[in-house]
């Protein structure tokens, strides 16, 4: 085979697919590979495709190295690791000729692909030598050693990654390093062939590290002064709540040793939302985090907060719907639900981070917006951004003090407001003043029923119309105070692509694919709803605008069509696709090209 001739080296440009069974500890092995490459400065990304299951069902981990900085999973695997008997044949069958196969010989299953160079290792047997009881878990460390040998992962990077993974657990560090080095030695001694793929050190930003979006939001909310976290466990948002719980004792204990943030595991998402509203009503910063099914349950309360004008923060880490859907897969399918959650006419502020830096930033900013606008503010993330690890150069400290909004805390402040009423638009911006329970200032009975400017029950048609018109004006006023879009514009303003959220991780590659066909493509990443006026001017400047999103129906496209001036609507074209997997650049690039052809 050509393997024996001098082969062309392919550095830092390949995808590894690792097939294991859930609950076998393979996540540690996979993160060690990811992190050791990261430590070498190799631009790398990892995607965990896991099942809704505690133990036994198949799981895949995709690692992509790319000097171009491409972070989507890639079109195909260049290297396949086979550990799982259940998916063995299907995994093998799907490989393109030439794919490198690394497999556990102890699975005792054939590797019938003569067109794929394969490398076997008795991983389970070797792991038994270290610890018979832990062999099922430890055997996964042997493919780390195998890959380290074949790809040329440096020893010190491996050690650093292992130490990072098992922070301070010396016994685990020692055992796992031993397994990795046994795997590496076995490969060195028994495998003669080389493979074309190599990792090569790059200059690493010394400030950079990898972190999950959920943990970034958790930290951001703690720096945002969260007072109350109510939550109900649901994938993929649980690790956000658990991140807050983990970091609170270190960061948020008062001088008397008591906590400055209450954490309540609620009985369901309805209660979690109610607690957020109670906290906001009483003058605190309340937050909950959930996924689509939770938002469905919270919807009645969201309408109450909108109408009674109570601040609160709700994070939706989107998974695949409808219904229980694919609970461990990713999607941007909740956007339109968030924007108009609850019955009647409603409209909510939605912040949409696309990077872990923005996850941290919006973690604190959501509270400022919620108190400024006295309403629910959503943070909109997804499983891909929330539960996979992404690079940052370090989080930036909030650049502005907390905005506690229009709260009157004393009689003097109250007297300074002319013609005060809880729901009177004194300043002309649609945002009224409020007082807090316990203050004795203008005590009213908050209600979800119709109310006049003083908060008194009313069914008067004029009063109702005035109220909902002011609410519209209030949220409308948020537009240009919310994060502006990130625009990367070409001089020839031919094609514009509007996208948002975790699509950020695939856009560079999509853009390169489009431009390789000779197109000139500008991009605009929307970071909040209601969308900023710069989004509209971006559309004004482009002949054709693709709205790119990870859902079936084109939800952002729908929102834009509803709110844009009529003459801009014909420029918009929806490209929406979802199958539960993180977006692959090729799929979306081809759909965009097809759409442009059809509309040419």
């Amino acid at each position: 085979m050509e393997m024996h001739v001098k082969m062309e080296r392919i550095c830092n440009d390949f995808t590894i697919n690792i097939a294991t069974a859930n609950g076998t500890g393979s996540q540690s092995s996979n993160l060690i590979i990811l992190n050791s490459m990261f430590q070498m400065g190799v631009p790398v990304s990892g995607k965990n495709l896991f099942p809704s299951n505690i133990s036994g069902l198949p799981t895949w981990f995709i690692i992509r190295a790319s000097d171009n900085g491409y972070q989507s999973p890639g079109d195909k695997a260049h290297i396949q690791v086979l550990m799982n008997k259940d998916t063995w044949f299907k995994d093998l069958e799907s490989l393109e000729p030439g794919t490198i196969v690394i497999y556990n010989e102890d699975a005792k299953l054939p590797v019938d692909r003569d067109d794929c160079p394969s490398f076997g290792m008795p991983m389970t047997k070797m792991a038994r030598g270290i610890n018979p009881k832990l062999a099922r878990l430890m055997c996964n460390m042997y493919y780390v050693g195998a890959l380290a040998h074949l790809l040329g992962i440096e020893q010190n990077a491996l050690e650093m990654a292992v130490r990072n993974q098992f922070k301070g657990k010396e016994k685990a560090i020692e055992l796992n390093l031993r397994a990795i080095s046994e795997g590496l030695d076995y490969a060195t001694e028994n495998w003669e062939d080389e493979i074309p793929y190599r990792v090569e050190s790059r200059e690493k930003d010394p400030d950079s590290f990898l972190i999950e979006g959920n943990e970034a939001i958790a930290l951001g909310s703690i720096f945002g002064g969260i007072n109350m976290l109510s939550w109900y466990p649901i994938t993929p948002s649980s690790s956000l709540a658990e991140g807050i719980i983990q970091w609170l004792p270190e960061l948020r204990d008062a001088d008397d040793g008591g906590s400055t943030c209450a954490v309540i595991q609620a009985e369901d998402e309805l209660a979690a939302a109610g607690m957020v509203i109670g906290a906001g009503w009483a003058g605190g910063r309340g937050m909950t985090c959930t996924s689509g099914p939770g938002i469905s349950l919270m919807s009645e309360f969201i309408g109450l907060a909108y109408f009674a004008e109570v601040p609160g923060v709700i994070w939706d880490v989107n998974r695949v719907g409808p219904s229980t859907g694919l609970p461990t897969r990713t999607q941007q399918g909740d956007l339109s639900m968030l924007y108009e959650a609850s019955h009647g006419d409603t409209q909510h502020i939605v912040l949409i981070p696309g990077t872990v830096d923005e996850c941290f930033e919006y973690g604190w900013r959501t509270f400022d917006y919620a108190e400024r606008f006295q309403t629910i503010v959503f943070g909109f993330s997804d499983l891909d951004l929330g539960m996979n690890r992404w690079s940052t150069s370090g989080f930036e400290y909030p650049d502005s003090p907390m905005d506690r909004g229009k709260v009157l805390r004393s009689q003097e402040e109250m007297d300074a407001v002319e013609n005060y009423g809880r729901y009177r638009d004194v300043d002309g911006d649609g945002i009224p003043y409020r007082t807090l329970p316990g203050s004795g200032l203008d005590p009213i009975l908050y209600r979800g029923t119709g109310h006049d400017e003083d908060g008194i029950y009313s069914e008067d048609p004029d009063v109702y119309y005035a109220t909902i018109s002011r609410l519209k004006k209030k949220i409308e006023g948020a537009r240009d105070l919310l994060p502006a879009p990130i625009i990367r514009e070409e001089e020839e303003q031919q094609i514009g692509v509007i996208y948002y959220g975790s699509m950020e991780n695939s856009i560079t590659e999509i853009d390169d694919m489009l431009e390789s066909t000779g197109l000139s493509v500008s991009t605009c990443r929307v970071r909040a709803l209601p969308y900023h006026s710069e989004v509209e001017s971006f559309i004004e400047r482009h002949e054709k605008v693709i709205v790119l999103e990870i859902n079936r129906d084109g939800q952002m496209y729908g929102i834009l069509r509803k709110e844009l001036p009529a003459h801009l609507i014909p420029r918009l074209h929806s490209v929406a696709y979802t199958d539960g997997l993180p977006p692959r650049a090729r799929v979306y690039a081809d759909m965009i090209l097809d759409t442009l052809e059809v509309t040419a």
Partner: protein, 344 residues
Amino acid sequence: MTVMKLNVIDLEKSEYTGGKSSLCPGCGHDQISNVIIQAAWENGIPPEGIAKMSGIGCSSKTPAYFLGKSHGFNTVHGRMPSVTTGASMVNRSLSFLAVSGDGDTASIGIGQFIHAIRRNLDMVYIIENNGVYGLTKGQYSATVERGSKKKKGAMNEQPPIDLCAMAINLGCSFVARSFSGSKKQLTSIIRAAMGHRGMAVIDVISPCVTFSNNDESYKSYNYVKENDEVLHLLDYIPHFTPIEEVDIPEGEFDDIQMFDGSTLRLETVGDEHDPSDPMSALSAIHRAEMDNKHVTGLLYYDNSMQTAEEALGLTETPLSALSEHELRPSADALDDINSRFRGN
């Protein structure tokens, strides 16, 4: 007896009244509102220190009719406990006084009722229980007794959910039942509940004059009056009244010390009831149910339980009163976190 014009904090009773009721004339709920006004005034609680909470229904409208100087929140159907929980976490210095109905609590909101009890939220939770949905024109609720019949429609055949029995089984720290027509008993119970630390559930039978005040209804005014099994006579002695000034009853009595230093004096009538014994409370409820009667009084009391705020180890200052300095960790703290993530 001299008529007090001012309470212990020098406020007139008018400081505790609210807006005009829009309920049906003669509604039991209005009597309860009057008792709440009386109890809060007599206890000398600053009105601004109270937060009135409610769900949806006839009863949940009543916070508009009492304590006009207190903030309140008329939330959504059955979900008042969660809103109260959030508010209570953020401002533990408020006294939470909640009003709910039998539909609001025993049907749509039974889950939140249960979990608020389980957390021992520090609040007074009054259920104005009439066995029917009023605002939707008289459907049965889940607390209606088997064999009871409202004014229109068939007799109810399903067993009732007894909210007091449920609360006792869940470990609620203060459980009482009363009747809107028993002003003295109800006043003592509500006053004691206000001095309690933790969840105080008070199930108040409150006849619906429009849909079920007929004699075949077990929650009609006449029926309850005839079939009220009073456990004990109650006297509430606030902590600011020297105990020597209170008349000592002639018969047997027990004093229960409340958290705020006040005393609830239980004077025995008939069989002695031990409110510290949940089994005795549950059998009193079941015996009464079998006889189609209502047992009233302080059913169960336990002052040893941790409240939700205590269990969470919150700082003493209400969280809503903390400054930015106390809420936002320093820039150094973030530098340190970044540095640790970098592996330095």
